[in-house]
């Protein structure tokens, strides 16, 4: 899966939690949770959704590295290949 496809999966998963999100309006280099109103339960459900769709595990210790969409893409690419 290339970065563009992965980003599309991220946006789709995000929209299942926050339907008002417009993918084209999100800045990939800015903290995601400053752009989308996600509480801790939404954030957990977002990560659960990603781990189920991409068949990767996301240890809680890694959460702090996942701030921007770009962070998520880079991190998940690494998890999918290992």
């Amino acid at each position: 899966m290339n970065d563009t496809e992965l980003l599309a999966v991220l946006i789709e998963t995000l929209q299942s939690i926050a339907p008002e999100v417009e993918g084209s309006e999100l800045r990939q280099d800015r903290p995601l949770r400053q752009q989308v109103d996600l509480d801790s339960m939404d954030w957990l459900n977002f990560l659960i959704g990603l781990s189920e769709r991409l068949k990767v595990s996301i240890p809680e210790a890694d959460y702090r590295r996942l701030v921007t969409l770009a962070d998520l893409v880079a991190y998940l690419q690494g998890r999918m290949t290992c």
Partner: protein, 404 residues
């Protein structure tokens, strides 16, 4: 014989609309079973029965708007046999009801209107009741596409409601116009409850910064061994800590009604849940103090999901004994809450963030995760001294999360 009345599903509710029955005459029901779905301005609520019995008569048709306290059905107690008389029809029952209870005229008018329109619709006229047409417009439904079940195939209000795939608040808000109406209604009900609170309840407010280094470490250890679907959020830990601490402070847990305080035995924490697009609901998590953290987390997750989908149970709406609001990871430092009447306290948490904290043992300044907890309480029932002891006990408990 006993009566099933429309319960008050929160201090801000004075009427509701029956969306559907889940039972029919002759059905046996158990205490706690969902027997009807009632629409309030906040959600479509599954209304539970509070006594075992057998349904005798349903007195209200789906689509009817009725005031809190209206008799909706009669039931036979276990072992009681049906009276000799034949159960009257819905309409007859409703007329009798109108004489006995005299509901507001518009309620009776709307309820009877459906049936009358259905019976009187002459051939060639649109076969649809006015109430059904109005509802279909609200829902953005094409009335011509809805099959009628009334006499002569007339489309009734019930048919329109049934045509909506899932009769929940979320579904009812499917069109922009309906969503805007619901928004306005929710704003009004929140305004009513909060105005009453500020008018009647003499609030006092206390704040305490609670170090969460131990709790965070402990939780990280617990979650490290759990799959992502079973991880526990700090929000669940804070809820449980509040509930356990409350057991020692009965003056903060219960209801102020009829000029006196009624302490509650159980701790049912109303969890303030914000809705996407605005608005707020605070349904109850039951017996929070006695549940394990994994169970509590599961129930919290389920409650948030159902609240946002607009599907709650009547007991969740009506019986929180205290409210807990958590402004969450993205929130602000502290909240000064407005008590939800007839409750007598609200506990609030701000954002968990790294703060400079002086280590009480070593005297060193360290940077540690901490949260500002606040208490808004009813001064008619408790005083600042008790409230301060509560926040102090909460702080101490959260230094020993392994004891939960």
């Amino acid at each position: 014989m006993f009566e099933f009345k429309l319960p008050s599903l929160g201090a801000d509710m004075d009427e509701g609309k029956l969306l559907e029955w889940h039972v029919k005459p002759g059905d046996k029901v158990k205490k706690g079973q969902v027997v009807a779905v009632v629409d309030t301005s906040k959600a479509a609520v599954d209304v539970e029965i509070w006594q075992d019995g057998t349904v005798f008569e349903l007195l209200v048709e789906p689509g009817t708007r009725l005031p809190v306290g209206s008799v909706m059905a009669t039931l036979l107690e276990d072992g009681e046999s049906a009276p000799a008389r034949k159960p009257v029809t819905l309409q007859g029952a409703r007329k009798g009801e109108a004489r006995r209870k005299a509901p507001p005229p518009e309620v009776a008018a709307e309820a009877v209107g459906v049936r009358q329109a259905a019976e009187l619709a002459p051939p060639g006229r649109p076969r649809v009741s006015p109430a059904a047409r109005k509802r279909a417009d609200e829902l953005g439904r094409d009335i011509a596409r809805i099959a009628g079940s009334g006499p002569g195939g007339v489309v009734t209000l019930a048919d329109v409601e049934r045509a909506v795939v899932v009769p929940t608040a979320a579904a009812a808000a499917a069109t922009p116009a309906a969503a805007a109406t619901r928004q306005a209604e929710m704003r009004r009900t929140i305004a009513a409850a909060m105005s009453r609170s500020k008018r009647e309840i003499p609030h006092y407010y206390l704040f305490e910064t609670i170090p969460l280094a131990r709790a965070s470490e402990w939780l990280a250890g617990v979650n490290a061994d759990r799959p992502i679907t079973e991880r526990i959020l700090m929000a669940a830990l804070l809820l449980k800590a509040v509930a356990i601490t409350l057991k020692g402070f009965p003056a903060l847990n219960g209801f102020y009604r009829n000029e006196r305080f009624e302490p509650a035995d159980a701790v049912h924490a109303g969890v303030a849940i914000s809705l996407r697009g605005g608005g707020l609901v605070a349904p109850a998590l039951h017996d929070v103090d006695s549940k394990t953290l994994p169970v509590l987390m599961h129930e919290l997750s389920d409650l948030v999901r159902r609240t946002r989908a607009g599907s709650l149970r009547s007991s969740e709406m009506s019986d929180p004994t205290i409210t807990v609001t958590n402004l969450g990871e993205q929130g602000v430092e502290a909240v000064m809450g407005v008590i939800y009447p007839p409750q007598v306290a609200l506990v609030g948490f701000g954002r968990v963030a790294s703060r400079p904290v002086v280590d009480e043992v070593s005297g060193e300044l360290r940077v540690l995760p901490a949260v500002t907890a606040s208490l808004a309480a009813d001064h008619r029932v408790s005083d600042g001294h008790r409230g301060a002891l509560f926040l102090g006990a909460l702080r101490e408990l959260l230094q020993h999360p392994e004891d939960f």
